[in-house]
Amino acid sequence: MFFGELAEIAGTSKITVQHITDTASLYAYLFEQYPTLKNRTYRLAVNKNVINEKQHLKNGDEVALLPPYAGG
């Protein structure tokens, strides 16, 4: 899932990907599809939990790219 400016860059708020086994291969896929993402700041959430390290992904996981928050 893409949010904020990242949804604009991707041209969509949600994509489904297959055969991705961890966050590293997800990044590789995303950078190939959307090169602009490389120079943007964001965090990754897997199933609504922000992660800071490489993580294994399984079928059905919901991954979100979260640009800096701007609530309030």
């Binding site: 949010f3 904020g4 400016e5 964001y42 965090r43 979260l66 640009p67 701007a70 609530g71 309030g72």
Partner: protein
Amino acid sequence: MEEKKHKIHKVIQQGAISGEFIATSINKHSSKTTIGAHTIFLGQVRSDKKDGKEVVAIEYSAYEEMAEKEFHIIREEAFAKYNLTCMHIHHSIGLVKAGEISLFVFVSAPHRDDVFTACADIVTQIKKRVPIWGKEILEDGTHLWKINNKYADK
């Protein structure tokens, strides 16, 4: 009757938060007579100048499920940390015009020290931890993405 602290309250609402809504919320507390102090924080959309153009509105969006979860955690933490009677948080999504209210935090306790500290803390935690984004709509129809400078990732 004391309010149940572990109930999940929906925080996110569509559009600006009206003065009437805030007034009604205040009035609802007149029966809770253990309360001696309330603080209210209202976040208002500011008409900043960006590249010489005025911000006329902010269009808020959120990762709603995660945002509600995070609001709930912030709320529970505040109840654990301070001696509070009750707390209400409301945040807008969708279009909020300059001058309108997009965040309403309402904290009540027996004594004032708790509400002053808790309210400031809660607002800081919201800005830091809740996945909400704001598209600043400029007067010429173009837009920019709002950044909470203090808490932006480096």
